[in-house]
C-alpha cells in the first residue's frame, strides 16, 4: 500500500495496462442497481460509509473501477473524485485497469510458501500463457497475481479465480482447473 517507497517489492507495474481500450462509459447506478445503493445507504449514518460497497458494485458491473466509475460514485455520495481515487488506491482488490476474464490470485505468504506456493504460481503463469505476474494473457482470458495471506493457510495453496475460492491447489491440478473454466 506504499508502492512509492517499496516499489521494487511490488508486483509488475499495473500502469502499463491499457485503460483506454474500453468503450464509452455506461453509468452503473440506474434502475435496480440504484435501488440497491439506496438500500445500502440505509445501513449507515453517513453517505460516505457506502463508498466501499458502491465501488464493489462498479467493479461487479464493469469488471474494474475506472476514473469515470469513481466520478459517478463521487457524485452520488457527495464526495470529490480525487477523494474516491484516494480510497480506491489504498485497497488491493479494486482493479484500476481492465483485467483478464479470469482474475487469479495466489497466496504466497510464508505459511503457504513453505507448502509449495511458488510452484503453484509458476504452473499458473505457464499454463495461462500470461508470461509474467500481473499481466493479462494475449487471449484476454487470464491475469495471475501473487497476493498476501488469503486466510485459508491450512488449505495451502489457496487460489481465487474471480469470486471462486479454491483450496489446496497444487501444480498438477492447475491444467485441470484452467480447463474447466468456460
Amino acid at each position: 500500500m506504499t508502492p512509492d517507497l517499496v516499489g521494487d517489492l511490488e508486483s509488475p507495474d499495473y500502469a502499463s495496462h491499457d485503460r483506454a481500450a474500453h468503450g464509452p462509459y455506461t453509468p452503473v447506478f440506474t434502475g435496480d442497481v440504484k435501488r440497491e445503493l439506496d438500500e445500502l445507504l440505509t445501513h449507515y449514518p453517513t453517505k460516505m460509509a457506502a463508498l466501499l460497497p458502491a465501488l464493489w458494485i462498479v467493479q461487479r458491473v464493469h469488471g474494474w473501477v475506472s476514473e469515470e466509475g469513481m466520478a459517478e460514485v463521487a457524485g452520488l455520495l457527495e464526495l470529490t473524485p480525487a477523494y474516491v481515487k484516494g480510497v480506491v488506491t489504498f485497497y488491493t482488490m479494486y482493479h484500476q485497469h481492465p483485467v483478464g476474464k479470469y482474475f487469479i490470485q495466489v497466496c504466497t505468504t510464508s505459511p503457504c510458501g513453505i507448502c509449495g506456493a511458488e510452484d503453484v504460481v509458476k504452473a499458473l503463469v505457464r499454463h495461462t500463457n500470461t508470461g509474467e505476474l500481473g499481466l493479462t494473457s494475449p487471449d484476454g482470458r487470464f491475469t495471475v497475481i501473487e497476493v498476501e495471506c488469503l486466510g485459508a493457510c491450512g488449505f495451502a495453496t489457496p487460489v481465487m479465480v474471480n469470486e471462486e475460492f479454491i483450496e489446496s491447489m497444487t501444480p498438477d491440478k492447475v491444467p485441470e482447473l484452467l480447463a474447466r473454466l468456460p
Binding site: 500500500m1 460509509a49 513453505i114 491450512g154 475460492f165
Partner: protein
Amino acid sequence: MGYPHHPNPRETTVLSKHFGEADARTLDGWKKRGGYKALEKALGMQPADIVNVVKESGLRGRGGAGFPTGMKWSFMKPGDGKPHYLCCNADESEPGTFKDRELMRWTPHALVEGCAIGAYAIGAETAYVYIRGEFTEPLHWMEQAVKEAYAAGIIGKNAMGSGKRIDVHVHKGAGAYICGEETALMESLEGRRGNPRIKPPFPAVSGVFGMPTTINNVETLIAAAPILMNGAEWYKKMSLSNPKSTGTKLFSVCGNVQRPGTYEVVMGFPFKEFLYDLCGGPLHGRKFKAVIPGGASVPIQTMEEAEATLMDYEGFVAGGSMLGSGGVIVIDDAQPMVTVIARLARFFAHESCGQCTQCREGTAWTTKILERIRDGEGTVEDLDTLLDIGEQMTGKTICVLSDSCAVPVISGIKKFRGEFEALIQGRRFHPVTAAVA
C-alpha cells in the same frame, strides 16, 4: 473440530461442534441445534447483567490482544444519549489464522446471534460485521444468515418481539490487512483509507462515526452465547492451567504438519500433545524445527520452547511467545528460516499503511536486507543492522504493525542465528558462488 471435521476425542468442541454440517448453516438447522436460545435469554436480561456474566466467565478477546471482554463491554456507558455501535472484526488476515473463516462458513447464525447479544449488552442498535473481501464463501453465508434472521424477526426493529431494535449489517472489505487493526477498521467502515487512528480517544469514547463503539473478534462474540446459556462457572471451569485463561480456544494449524486444520481445545492444553497427537506430527521423514504459535506477529518458538508450552495466554508467554490469534504455523527442517522470515517481512512491508516513518521505511528495509541475506549477498553487519532497525520499529508507531514486523525478525535472529550466519559466511567461504550470486 479438527481436520476435515472428524473430531479428536481430546478436543472440546463448543464453538466448532457443528463444523462440516451443511444443515447448520440454515436458520432451521441452526434452531434445531439450539440456536437463538441464548439471544432470547439475553433479551430477557438487563444489559448490565449480561456484561457481568461475561466478565465473570473470564472470556478474553480472541482477536490477538486478549483483552477481557466483559470489561471492554463495561466501558460503554448506558444512557449517554449517543448511538452506540458494535463492530465485529472479521478481517482475519494474520498469516496462519483461518479460524474465523471456518466459524462463518459453517456456523454463520452463531455469529449473527453473537452480534445481537453483544449489541444488546452494550446498548447498540447496530452491529457491523466487517468481513475481508477475499472471504467470498463466508460473505455468502453471512449475508444469507442475516437475511434469514431479518425475515424471521430475530433481528430488526423488534428483535424476537423484545421491542428492541438490533440491526446487523455485513460490510465487505477490499483487501488490506491493516483494516484488521481496530481503528483502521472503523476508518474503512466510514468509507476512508484504512489508516489506524492515534489513541486516545479509544473506541469506547469515540469509535466508528465518532460514537462509542465496541469492537470484538468473531470468535469472541460467538463465545458469548454458550456462556449465557451455561453460565460463567461452566466456562471458568474449562481451564487446565492458569485461571486467567478460561474456556475453549480455536487454533488454526498450518504449515508442515500432517493434519492442518482448525482445532478446539480447553485453555492450557499441552502444546506438545497438540502438535504430535491432534495434528499428527511432522510429515514423513521430516522433523519439526520451529513454531509461530499465534499468527505471524508473535515471536518464533524453538521446538524446545514449544514442546514445554501450555496453550493459554500465560503459557505461550512463558514459552517465549504469545497466544496471539491462535494461528499456529509449523515449520519443519526442510525450510530455510531466513526464507520464511524474509517472506513474512515482505508481508508486513506490503501491508504497512505508510503513515509512520519507522514502519514504512523499517518494513521495507528489513525486507531488502533479509532478501539479500537469503540470496547469499548478506554481510556480517546486516544482522546488527536488522536488530537495530527492529528496535527502532518497536513501540514508536501509531499501531503495532511495525512492532509485528520486528518480532519474527528479532526472535528469528536470536533463536536461529546459525542459519543466518551460514548464509552470510557461505558467500565468504565460497567466493565463486558469491560471484554468481
